[in-house]
């Protein structure tokens, strides 16, 4: 067992528990986008950041989904430093992917009411949930990451229709951008107000071949336009 301090509370958790699991267990909510209980933690969305310090050491922000509980650690899940980073990240998410209801809900919860960046409509936030779902739960490994940096995207090997893919739809089921679409935001008001702007959640290269939603509601509407 490991003893640590969580938001001023002395707690004891089992060895190997992550900070996110510990916080959840004690009823403290930490927002996440790339985390799922059934999948291995990935630490890419950076929303689950918490401030940790060891006695006498300098504090730093770490992703709680990947950081193991350690003896004597002091953890703060909603400190000013954490909130500042979290809010700006949510603003960045809104600026990139305003069509996700999950993200719009997060924005409301964290009082992010405006977007100061140039508005984009990219949809995919590269959280990697679909990739891990495909590999770990569906045992297919049909999709993965391609390229690096700003060019990074999710695709099948060589962008060809994959033989490994069984069209199970697990990727869409788990996608925070596909699962719940918020169609409200537009250039003038990136923070949601109505369901106006319906566009397909998939990237172009999937075509309909990779999509189990046949016909896809969004694709249908797009064709009609």
């Amino acid at each position: 067992m490991v003893n640590l301090t969580l938001n001023g509370l002395e707690i004891t958790v089992e060895k190997g528990t992550t900070l996110l699991e510990a916080a959840k267990f004690y009823g403290i909510e930490i927002p996440t986008l790339c985390y799922d209980e059934a999948l291995s933690p990935y630490g890419a969305c950076r929303l689950c950041l918490v401030e940790v310090s060891k006695p006498g050491g300098r504090s730093k922000l770490v992703s709680s989904c990947t950081y193991p509980a350690m003896e004597g650690l002091v953890v703060r899940t909603h400190s000013e430093r954490v909130m500042k980073a979290r809010r700006l990240l949510i603003e960045l998410y809104l600026a990139t992917c305003p069509s996700s209801k999950t993200i719009q809900d997060l924005a409301s919860k964290y009082h992010v009411t405006k977007v100061r960046f140039t508005q984009k409509h990219e949809d995919c936030i590269l959280c990697g949930l679909c990739v891990r779902m495909c590999e770990e739960q569906m045992q297919a490994k049909a999709i993965g990451f391609v390229n690096r940096g700003a060019e990074r995207r999710i695709s099948t090997p060589f962008d060809a229709k994959s033989d490994e893919c069984r069209l199970c739809g697990g990727c869409i089921y788990i996608c925070p951008a596909c699962r719940l679409r918020c169609q409200g935001p537009n250039e003038e008001s990136p923070v949601c107000n109505a369901c106006l702007n319906l566009s397909p959640p998939c990237l172009d290269q999937y075509d309909d071949a990779m999509c189990y939603m046949d016909p896809c509601v969004a694709c249908e509407l797009k064709i009609q336009k």
Partner: protein, 621 residues
């Protein structure tokens, strides 16, 4: 004594070989060292070597004159360099046509060829001997010093200068723990960037309980303008290899891996060759020097990604996977390559290890500052007179490095800033030049030591443009896993680009600073955490330039395309037509011998006309 096929079985064998080789070396009447480093190689040193060889084959059949193609000697700007021993006569910019004269006059008769001597760019003084040249004299070449004395492809050259003595000493007289203590006492800090104490790193790995351990040499130097590790591996691979074996012995590793980027073909070739030679002599493999210690080394060539300099990404790359950092903990000392305890050290750190064990930590500690000991190699590039590799004691001021060793700014222009630490580093202004260069001081100035890149910028450099350049580099080199790094850098770049186009506001500048803070704070690995440095340090020291772009829509240095325009002064223009001929977009119109004009609609602002006009008629505003 024939040296072919010998095997070194213990320390005595090594001593005997060292003595034989030393004697042979002392018997050499004269030798010619041609620099074969990256810089000189590209300016044609290979052809010069061939010319020497051809001439000597014809005129010196007994081989009295020894020819060596050495590693980088430092003053890359003036290559190809040739040094004639034993007098150490230093010739620069040597061409194939000079070869005959050099041998006939200088080597055989001691006559000095004035035209090939090095001329100091500031004082105009000429120097005959390499030891007199201020560029070399002011340095302390603890690691690079032997580069000009040995052929990197010859293990015998290395051994003749006492090479592998440190390894023999370590294996026979010291335990792993003692070596780690010695390294800790020497206060060696990792030369790859972060400056983590090497002794502590090794200790963690040493203490980890495992049947297998690994030591990896990180030669994935990715900073633009940096070539320290490259020159060490190319010029003195055995120095690094010896350090790697000592490190392996200290932490208890059985296998060493050299991860080197494929873009460094000579380095790959030389380290591979060095490993083969060491194996052949019995300095690598089973039961090294009769100590019972087994150690193997292999080379992995990387596909070249800046992010692979991050240790956990490097380990991924060694497997052959995409180089992406992973979350720590667990640290590499617990779970690294093959999930076994692993230690990753930079090339220069390992070269320092050899020096520390060879000379003793006590002697090593005499150089450097209180907290950082030893020397550091910097690649001094940019708008500086003497570009090249400089190795100086830690703690030397930036001013000394740039103005005394580097010979000041090119063309007598005004110094503006020096960028240290590569893309993740920061820009340091003139007012802080007297600061000693050590890990902590540079970090407190908002920059970092990094691997040792040092880019000098003059008055014609726009700091907003510099921030834009480095952000663009990082945008492409980020692995893209963390949202805060991938999107954060893209967005920072977006704002900086807007500023450079004069389309920004003070609110955007505030937002940029806020974003930079968050990116620095919230990203997983070193790349993201330091990616805001170029922005934060330029805003910190050159805020007036940002404000000029934002408020006055003006680029003070005249660099940002959207904020400058070119015009021709009618009174100064002689109508020679030189500009019109060179203009790539045919934007300059006019009749010969009459004043020309620039058609601003066609002008792409490339600035060629500005550079070409001899009469100063083309003006930038």
């Amino acid at each position: 004594m024939s040296l072919s096929g010998i095997k070194i079985k213990d320390q005595e064998d090594l001593n005997r070989l060292q003595n034989v080789l030393k004697k042979r070396r002392n018997d050499e009447e004269c030798s010619v060292a041609i620099c074969g480093g990256t810089g000189c190689h590209s300016s044609g040193s290979e052809k010069v070597r061939e010319a020497f060889q051809r001439y000597l084959e014809r005129n010196d059949p007994e081989g009295k004159i020894k020819l060596r193609l050495t590693g980088c000697q430092g003053l890359c700007e003036r290559g190809p360099l040739v040094v004639i021993f034993p007098q150490e006569i230093f010739y620069q910019k040597v061409s194939v046509d000079d070869v005959e004269e050099i041998i006939e006059k200088t080597v055989l008769n001691g006559e000095i060829l004035e035209r090939l001597l090095f001329t100091d760019p500031i004082s105009g003084e000429k120097y005959t001997y390499s030891r007199e040249i201020p560029f070399l004299q002011k340095q302390k070449r603890l690691l690079l010093g032997n580069n000009r004395l040995i052929e990197p492809t010859s293990i015998m050259d290395y051994i003749s200068l006492g090479g592998y003595g440190a390894l023999a000493g370590a294996l026979t007289k010291m335990t792993g723990e003692e070596i780690i203590q010695e390294i800790s006492y020497a206060l060696l800090r990792g030369r790859g960037g972060a400056g983590f104490p090497t002794g502590q790193k090794w200790k963690e790995c040493y203490e980890a309980v495992s049947d297998e351990k690994y030591i990896i040499c990180n030669a994935d130097e990715g900073d633009p303008g940096a070539f320290m590790d490259r020159s060490l591996l190319e010029g003195n691979p055995h120095l690094v290899l010896e350090g790697l074996i000592i490190g392996g012995y200290a932490v208890g590793a059985g296998e060493g891996i050299v991860y080197v980027r494929a873009e460094y073909p000579i380095a790959v070739q030389n380290i591979n060759n060095a490993i083969k030679q060491a194996e052949k002599l019995g300095l690598l493999g089973e039961n090294i020097l009769g100590s019972g210690f087994n150690f193997h080394v292999r080379v992995v060539t990387g596909a070249g990604a800046f992010v692979c300099g991050e240790t956990s990404a490097l380990v991924e790359a060694v497997y052959g996977r995409v180089g992406e950092p992973r979350q720590k903990p667990p640290h590499l000392a617990e779970q690294g390559y093959m999930n076994k305890p692993t230690v990753v050290n930079n090339v220069e750190s390992l070269a320092n290890v050899t020096v520390i064990i060879r000379d003793g930590a006590e002697r090593y500690r005499q150089v450097g500052t209180e907290k950082s000991k030893g020397t550091k190699i910097f690649s001094l590039v940019g708008k500086v007179n003497n570009t090249g590799l400089v190795e100086v004691p830690l703690g030397m001021s930036l001013r000394e490095i740039i103005f005394e060793i580097g010979g000041g700014v090119q063309g007598g222009k005004e110094f503006k800033a020096v960028q240290t630490g590569g893309p993740s580093g920061g820009c340091i202004p003139e007012s802080l030049l007297d600061m000693p260069t050590d890990f902590d001081e540079l970090a407190s100035a908002g920059s970092m030591m990094g691997s040792g890149g040092m880019i000098v910028m003059d008055e014609d450099t726009c700091m907003v443009d510099i921030a834009r350049y480095f952000l663009n580099f990082l945008k492409e080199e980020s692995c893209g896993r963390c949202f805060s790094c991938r999107e954060g850098i893209s967005r920072m770049l977006e704002i900086v680009e807007d500023i450079s186009r004069g389309r920004s506001s003070l609110e955007q500048l505030e937002l940029l600073m806020e974003l930079a803070d968050v990116v620095q704070d919230s990203t997983m690995c070193g790349l993201g955490q330091t990616s805001a440095n170029p922005v934060l340090s330029t805003i910190r020291y050159f805020k007036d330039e940002y404000l000029a772009h934002i408020l006055e829509k003006r680029c003070p240095a005249g660099v940002c395309h959207d904020l400058i325009s070119f015009s021709i002064d009618k009174d100064l223009c002689t109508g020679c037509g030189a500009c019109a001929k060179k203009c790539p977009s045919k934007a300059i119109e006019g009749v010969i011998k009459q004043a020309h004009m620039i058609n601003l609609q066609k002008c792409t602002k490339c600035g060629i006309c500005f550079e070409i006009c001899k009469f100063g008629a083309v003006q930038k505003s």
